[in-house]
């Protein structure tokens, strides 16, 4: 089916870019392996959809595509949460910077 070819082509590009970046040392080899696992896993699920049903049944979910959907939602939750935390850390650094600037003259005198 066309959608399978398109998605797998995208994943192959992702895999290629991941290792290109690893070669440029932008990401570590460990990170690249992690991403590769995700891309290959997704490609397997797309090429052979029955494999997702196998995993879904193991977790007690009836259909593979449902399982992928639930998983994606959960993954998104985690990612958004991490983003919030990272943002809060940035905010605190910004505050520290603003504070240092405000106290600068006081420390001199």
């Amino acid at each position: 089916m066309l959608i399978q070819f398109v998605l797998i082509a995208v994943l192959l590009i992702a895999l290629f870019v991941t290792w290109k970046r690893a070669g440029q040392r932008v990401v570590t080899v460990r990170e690249a392996l992690g991403w590769s696992l995700l891309w290959v896993g997704a490609a397997v699920g797309i090429a052979m959809p029955w494999t997702t049903t196998l995993v879904a049944n193991f977790f007690g979910v009836g259909r593979g595509s449902d399982f992928v959907l639930y998983g994606s939602v959960m993954l998104l939750f985690v990612l958004v949460f991490k983003l919030f935390v990272a943002f809060e850390k940035q905010e605190r650094k910004l505050t520290e910077l603003v504070r240092r600037d405000a106290l600068k003259d006081l420390k001199k005198s």
Partner: protein, 227 residues
């Protein structure tokens, strides 16, 4: 014993002078932190002996401004640091009773409470209900003892030792609960004294909105993971 008041101010150009003249006779000095105001709040502070004005170039929130002011007060050699709001909600006449337990060496931290006898002026019923809910939240989610009667009191006094020890990092409104938690879980001695809060139409309009309760809970939650 050097008592310094810390007044964080955000867009308070119209009220800051009144607050300062009310607070000044009761303390040895004042640190005003203009929290990135757009209305030239810093310029509205009258040049006066013992009044130090600091400015945050960007608005970082009340908690952040208090922290900056507290650190400044320590640099200026304060023995006792009193936190007072700029908008006139906090009745300055209670400053001496906030300072007294520290001066008597009976406490390291003194919290002003709205619910210890002094009748708050003009407190809306819904606000009162919300504060009760906040107290329960503090007990259950934050582990702050139920002995604390006012969950969102912004008027407090710290000894220099306490000010150095309490590492509060919440930039916005959640600093009240955060300071309560850090103090009640430390070995510092703390006590609550009655204060009077004046609710005016103006301060209600600018101050915390009731929906901010959810924001505070969220900030505290995220804050746990950002530490």
């Amino acid at each position: 014993m050097k008592v310094l008041a810390v007044i964080p101010a955000f867009n308070e150009a119209s009220r800051i002078a009144t607050t300062i003249s009310a607070v000044r006779p009761l303390v040895d000095g004042i640190v005003v932190v203009d929290d990135g105001s757009g209305d030239r709040t810093a310029d509205a502070v009258p040049a006066q002996q013992g009044v130090t004005v600091l400015r945050h170039e960007l608005n970082r929130g009340q908690g952040a401004a208090l922290r900056t002011g507290t650190e400044a007060a320590l640099i200026l050699g304060a023995d006792v640091i009193v936190h007072v709001d700029a908008d006139g909600q906090h009745d300055p006449s209670f400053i001496p009773s906030l300072v007294k337990p520290i001066a008597d060496d009976a406490a390291d931290v003194v919290f002003g409470s709205r619910f210890l006898g002094e009748v708050p002026e003009g407190i809306p019923l819904f606000r009162r209900v919300l504060l009760h809910a906040a107290r329960t939240f503090n007990v259950m989610a934050m582990g702050i003892p139920r002995r604390v009667t006012d969950p969102q009191s912004g008027m407090r006094a710290l000894s220099a030792k306490a000010a150095r020890e309490i590492d509060f990092v919440q930039d916005r409104m959640a600093h009240c609960s955060e300071i309560l938690r850090r103090v009640t879980r430390s070995s510092l001695r703390w006590v609550e004294v009655p204060v009077r809060i004046r609710y005016t139409a103006e301060s209600l309009a600018k101050g915390q909105k009731s929906t901010d309760a959810l924001k505070i809970a969220w900030q505290l939650f995220i804050g746990v993971f950002a530490d």
